[in-house]
Every structure is written in C-alpha cells, then in structure tokens.
C-alpha cells in the first residue's frame, strides 16, 4: 500500500521557545506516518538538536521546517532564513548536537539544497520491527 507524499511546513521565530512547536508538528506528522512511539520520540529529539544548532550557529531570525511524509519515512528539513552566516560545516559536523541527530536518524545532510541558507535535513525510516 502506498500513500501519496504529504508535505507540512512551519516557520517559527528563531528563539528557543518555539522549538517546542516544531517538535510537536514533527511528532504529529510522524504519528500520521504510523511511526512507533519510540521513533516519534527520536524524531522529537532530532528536531530539538537540529533546531538548537540552527539557533546557536546560523543566527537567523526564523527557522523553517519542512516535513515530507512518504509511505515509510519522514524527511525533515530545518533551515535558517539567514543566507550569509557564521555557519561553519566543520564546526557543525563535529558538534555533539550533530552526532545526536546522526545517531537518531537514518540519513542526515548538511545544507542539502546548497541554496545558501544553512540547513540540516534528516530522514527517519519507519521501523516495523517485526517480531
């Protein structure tokens, strides 16, 4: 069974207070994708860490999150609205937050679009974990 992909996006002010909103949106989409709750929680955590990297390193005024839900995965991209920044990939990729995001997800990518805006994208595949 396949369902057409769904895309949900949200943009929030780049302040720690709004990270919770992004977490909840991501969790809601993951629940719709029928992810088991342990994976939903890991998506929440990954969003939190990715957002905190953008907050501390990209220094924009807004964070945009786009989630594509496909049949057996969610693809989450968080990006800053700041096009020129102190965003340094070497520093990002050795950071603790980056390791956490990598550890919690199946694929992670820095600045996927190469569009100039700092971004962190990750894919989490649904684990059916059949017993």
């Amino acid at each position: 069974m396949t369902t057409p992909p769904e895309v949900v996006s949200a943009e929030v002010p780049a302040t720690p207070d709004f990270v919770q909103v992004l977490r909840n949106v991501a969790a809601g989409v993951a629940a719709r994708a029928d992810m088991p709750i342990d994976q939903i929680e890991e998506i929440r955590l990954a969003v939190t860490e990715a957002a905190s990297l953008l907050l501390t390193e990209a220094l924009g005024t807004a964070i945009r999150m786009t989630i594509r839900r496909d049949d057996d995965l969610v693809d989450v991209e968080l990006s800053s609205d700041r096009t020129t920044s102190s965003w340094r990939s070497d520093r990002i990729e050795t950071s603790w937050a980056w390791i956490v995001v990598s550890g919690l997800t199946d694929e992670v990518q820095l600045d996927r679009e190469g569009a100039g805006a700092p971004s962190i994208a990750f894919v989490k595949r649904r684990d059916r974990n059949p017993m």
Binding site: N24, D34, D38, I40, E41, S52, V100, M131
Partner: protein, 248 residues
C-alpha cells in the same frame, strides 16, 4: 436501598423519620442513613476530571434536596426518588463547569492511561506501538495520545518507575552494580564536556545509543529497564547537556 444491612433502619422507621420532618434531627438521621447511596453515585461519576470529594459533596447536596422534597404519599420508594435527584445534581455539577458529561480526561489522567496502555501493547506486540494503536486500545483520540506522550517525557522518571521489591532501589539504579563499565573515550567526552557531569547511568545510555549505535529497545533489554524509561533518560540527559551548553 439495601434493607439487609445490619444497622439499617426498617421501612417503618424511615417512614417515621419522614413524618418528623422538618425536624433537623430527623433530617440528619435520614441523611446519614442514605449517605452510602450518595457516595455510590459520586463514585459512578468519578474519573471524569473532578475530584471524588467534590462529587461526594455534590451528591450529598442532592440527597438533602431529595429528603426535603420527598413526598411519601406518592408511593415511590425514597431510594428511587433520591437516586434520580442525586444523579440530577451531579449532572448539573458537570454542566455548570461547562463540561459535557463525557468530558475528556485531563492530561494527567490520560498520561497515566497512555502509559499503562503502552506497556501492555509493548508486551503483547514485542515492539513499540504506534499512536493509532494506543488510541484505539485506550479509546481516546490520537491527539490526546500525542499530548500524553509529550507529558510523559516531561515527568521525572521517579514518579513513574515502580520500585523493585525491596523498595530501596529500582531496577534501573541497580545497573550501577554491574561489572561492565562503560569505558568512555576522551574523544567522545570532548564532544560534550558536560557528559562528565551526567549520572553514570545516563552517560552509559548515551554512550550505548550514540557511540555504539544501539537502539533504545536493545539498551532497555541490556539494562533491564523499560524502553519508556530509556527514552525518558535519553531526553532528560540531552536536555541537561543542552542547558549546560547554552550556559556557555
């Protein structure tokens, strides 16, 4: 009303008390006699977000109204009349609060229900349930499940983890006694210096999760604690690290 209770009054005695009304002593005797009926209905209406004490008070008020308004000439047993009055009072109580009678449970109650449902499903299925599965099993909405799961993450682990039989340590704490030491490389610790300050158990879990790439379920099995507990500890320790990082 049950007439078989040892100390309950006979129908004749009850009728006599009603004849004495509005004598305050008789009224009080009747209220005492039928209090179990009020308590019974208060319990029937509990679990909808109102404290049982409030409901008992409301039901008792309904009982007093019933005593004052009861007309023995009508031939209806007092217990029947009182039951209708008490239920009416309880319904009004909920309506006055702007709640439909079938109110959604409050978040805390839902969280407890969800927590219990998750454990049950997890055991039955041998994997983490989905939100849909939990919602169907607990007969609540998927949004309520999500909200409850979020609330559960925020709880301190102590409040939800049952102590082990000797009540002095939980299964989770006893892992410290295990011989396996989680040798943590300097390189790993340098990624987040605050790791050093975490309790050993939390550091061990983060190490297994992010250094050895183990799943939460595998970690739960290894440490002999629930996956929900692992999940909470991961969230909790990541939160501590993040706070420490933002402090500079």
């Amino acid at each position: 009303m049950s007439d078989d209770r040892k100390d309950s009054r006979s129908d004749e005695e009850i009728a006599e008390l009603f004849r004495k009304l509005p004598d305050p002593g008789a009224r009080e005797e009747l209220a005492k006699e039928f209090l179990p009926l009020a308590e019974y209905f208060a319990r029937r209406f509990s679990g909808r977000g109102e404290p049982v004490d409030d409901l008992t008070q409301t039901a008792s008020l309904g009982l007093l109204n019933a005593i004052d308004r009861f007309d023995p000439e009508r031939g209806v047993p007092f217990s029947t009349y009182a039951a209708a009055t008490i239920v009416g009072e309880l319904k009004r109580h909920f309506r006055d609060r702007g709640w439909a009678l079938r109110v959604p449970r409050n978040v805390q109650e839902t969280a407890i229900l969800v927590n219990r449902t998750v454990s049950t499903l997890w055991q039955e299925m041998g994997r983490a349930p989905t939100v849909r599965e939990i919602a169907a099993s607990a007969d609540i909405g998927e949004d309520d499940v999500l909200e409850a799961l979020d609330a559960l993450q925020a709880y301190t682990t102590d409040s939800l983890d049952a102590p082990t039989a000797d009540a002095t340590s939980t299964a989770a704490e006893s892992i410290g006694a295990e011989d396996r030491s989680y040798e943590v490389s300097e390189e790993w610790l340098s990624l987040a210096p605050a790791l050093r300050e975490l309790p050993e158990r939390e550091r061990a879990i983060l190490y297994l999760r992010f250094f050895e790439g183990r799943t939460q379920t595998e970690i739960a099995d290894e440490l002999g604690i629930s996956q929900m507990h692992v999940s909470r500890l991961v969230s909790q320790s990541l939160e501590k690290l993040r706070q420490r990082a933002s402090e500079g």
